[in-house]
Subunit: 107 residues, 2 copies
Amino acid sequence: MEQYDQEEQLISNMDEEELLELADLFKMFADSTRIKILCDLFSGEKNVGEICDDLQMNQSAVSHQLKQLRAAKLVKGRRCGKAIYYSLADDHVSTIIAMGRDHIEEC
Amino acid sequence: MEQYDQEEQLISNMDEEELLELADLFKMFADSTRIKILCDLFSGEKNVGEICDDLQMNQSAVSHQLKQLRAAKLVKGRRCGKAIYYSLADDHVSTIIAMGRDHIEEC
DNA sequence: TGAACATATGATAATATATTCATATGTTCA
DNA sequence: TGAACATATGAATATATTATCATATGTTCA
């Protein structure tokens, strides 16, 4: 109905599907382990073992999180021998984290 | 120890506390109900009843989420008679959501 | 080929989170 | 004051998420 469409428009032109996609994207930043991984990659690509060392975390936990970050296209991996090197997929990652830090600082 | 401090620095100068704060902030965007509420406020301040109508949601659920958004300083409320009008606390909110949408579009 | 290494994955248990219901608090106005 | 309205809150349940353990997959090299 007309009324419903109008309300929907107020929610800034996003349909349910896009909203869920957005929420899923932000979920990636909603866990400190994943933020650590992302920030660890600010300095360049690293393999899983290096990430585990930097974060002092269990390999399995790191791999599970990397899987999610990959699915969200926030990181990408390339195999090099036995190791897989991960890096940030684009620079939205650092922009989004920077915005978050700004918000925290300013209030 | 020296080694540990060095690793921490790689995680872009953030200490554990700041990381947790950041994660908590992004948790606010990690749920489609809360994103809907935030987006609903893009068009200006609204009271709880209006938000419930726009989102077709239960008053209690909306209040619970507003409480979290208030705690994260993403929205603020002012009482006007019986109603409480909520609005976005600053414009990081729309910037962060815009960055998220950009990321989704571009991949 | 098979041993050693690096990473991924499935299942499980512990924990966190969202929604709902019932009810409390705060405000207005007759 | 008390009835009606608007919003907030506590408790309970349902669902989602994370870390861990055990194990599987993929790669190298002797």
